[in-house]
């Protein structure tokens, strides 16, 4: 596995010709988007003033008009940037993933299947589900797959209008765990204890019948960060040995975002709550900007390094058979 500095070198040296070419495209694209928005805005003003009388009678029509405008703006943005995004992913992300670890495959339009998302039992059922940037493969003999996903819930108001709220947006990781287990264990970000203090927080935590019993862990730092539920008090502690708890805390610190984990059916599922799409090219800032490159590289090395970080390659004896 390559380090952050090795990948940074690769980004600025081997990928430089591609980045330069893409940078020209990016500039042209950003201008195109701005121009088309100016035209769209002018058109909207013209149509708006022409239909002034209609709008003054019906406030609903204004709402409809604005919604239509927004839809056109989003559609235009997607249409214009599509080719550029594809070229970025093929020309930059693909070689970067291969360079990070040659046992990995990258597909920009695929994502973790909805069945896997449901199997993790981490989140509620999604009515709208999608994702991209699917990376899969085997690192030191351990199978791993991850991608960006966006799971949404559908709502309908009294008039039957649909709207969507986000259940989860971020990176979703599925990998094998190196110990046998048959129960279910859930490790969630501890929001109750943080916001309500120890006493009320732990009382609130104990009221979560959907997840199974509350499991109090004997590591104060881990308990501050996470809350654990599970169907088996002993097995949950077998999975979460003191060493594993420390490694998960370290992973949480490096990811800089809340993480949720579940251990179900011999698999480990990790959801990193980034709240946005990762590995997307910038349109209004330069691709050569150092902070942007570091964001791609750090996120990638965090994910590819997961197996080593959690020492999942050190399988138990009986798992070899």
């Amino acid at each position: 596995m390559k380090s952050v500095s090795e990948l940074t070198d690769f980004y600025y040296k081997a990928l430089y010709p591609t980045l330069e070419r893409l940078e020209k495209k990016r500039k042209a694209l950003s201008h195109r988007i701005i121009y088309s928005y100016i035209i769209l805005g002018t058109l909207a003003l013209l149509i708006g003033s022409a239909l002034r009388e209609l709008f003054s009678d019906s406030p609903d029509a204004i709402g409809f008009f604005l919604a239509l405008l927004l839809a056109i703006a989003v559609f235009l943005y997607k249409l214009l940037s599509k080719g550029y995004i594809e070229q970025f992913k093929k020309g930059v992300m693909h070689p970067l993933v291969k360079e990070a670890h040659n046992g990995l495959e990258y597909r920009c339009d695929a994502f973790i299947s909805e069945a896997r998302y449901e199997a993790s039992e981490l989140f509620s059922h999604a009515d709208r589900y999608g994702g991209n940037d699917y990376i899969s493969g085997s690192i030191e003999g351990v199978k791993i797959e991850f991608s960006d996903i966006h799971a949404q819930k559908e709502h309908r108001d009294s008039k039957g209008r649909k709207s969507y709220s986000t259940i989860f947006q971020g990176v979703f990781i599925v990998t094998e765990f190196n110990k046998h287990f048959s129960s279910k264990t859930f490790i969630l970000p501890d929001s109750a204890q943080k916001s309500f203090g120890d006493l009320i927080g732990s009382w609130l935590q104990s009221k979560n019948p959907m997840r199974g019993e509350l499991i109090k862990m004997d590591d104060a730092a881990f308990e501050r960060e996470f809350v654990v539920y599970g169907s088996d008090q002993i097995e949950a502690r077998y999975i979460l040995s003191h060493a594993v708890m420390q490694r998960l805390l370290e992973f949480r610190r490096k990811s800089r975002h809340p993480i949720s984990l579940s251990f179900v059916n011999a698999q480990m599922y990790i959801a990193i709550h980034y709240g946005k799409d990762m590995f997307e090219p910038s349109i209004f800032t330069s691709l050569l900007k150092h902070s942007l490159a570091m964001e791609y590289i750090q996120n990638l090395t965090l994910l590819v390094g997961l197996i080593n970080e959690l020492k999942l390659n050190q399988k138990l004896w009986s798992k070899h058979e």
Partner: protein, 184 residues
């Protein structure tokens, strides 16, 4: 409804909740102890095989092997108290640890496949025991807290609940084990 009656009712409900929570905590300790028992039994099952495999080579450790066999026989007797089991487990853990250290001095044993396999299985069981001990200690801590804290302690006294003993967690279990070293 008059105020005194309402107060008595509320008091009754609180008493009932406290009673139930204490019973729950006591049962939780017992349930988890059953789990501890199950993994301890796994280890007892490994001991005869281990002793048989190493006794041919280990001339100087005969006493240690006899002690392990004796402790196992003692621990698998029916109807022994939880406290006694905990005490036996502690002695057995340290005796087994000494055998594992002694194995290092015998190259034939270190290379013996059967012994290697037993060592790994034992290591896995030890990890399970460690998890079971931690689960038990947490349940006992919750139980002990309840019978010592106000107001649950008053009800606990009436129910004749007494403090329970914790498992001692060996210091080396608190450290992250270096699995690589164990397996290679």
């Amino acid at each position: 409804m008059s105020i005194p009656l309402a107060l008595i009712l509320i008091f009754g409900i609180i008493l009932l909740l406290i009673y139930n929570s204490l019973v729950y905590k006591k049962n939780q300790v017992e349930n988890i102890f059953a789990g501890v028992d199950a993994v301890l039994k796994k280890r007892y099952d490994l001991i005869p095989n281990l002793v048989a495999s190493v006794s041919r080579y280990m001339e100087h450790e005969k006493g240690l092997l006899a002690e392990v066999t004796h402790l196992r026989a003692e621990a698998t007797k029916p109807h022994i108290s939880d406290e006694h089991k905990i005490a036996l487990d502690k002695q057995l853990s340290s005796a087994l640890g000494s055998i594992m250290v002694a194995v290092e001095a015998y190259p034939e044993l270190k290379a013996n496949e059967n012994v290697i396999h037993l060592q790994h299985t034992l290591h896995e069981v030890e990890e399970q025991i460690s998890a079971a001990r931690r689960a038990y200690n947490q349940a006992v801590t919750d139980y002990n807290n309840a019978i010592e804290m106000i107001p649950t302690n008053m009800v606990a006294k009436l129910m004749n609940y007494t403090r329970k003993e914790l498992f001692e967690i060996p210091q080396n279990e608190r450290k992250a084990p270096d699995v690589k070293e164990l397996f290679h």
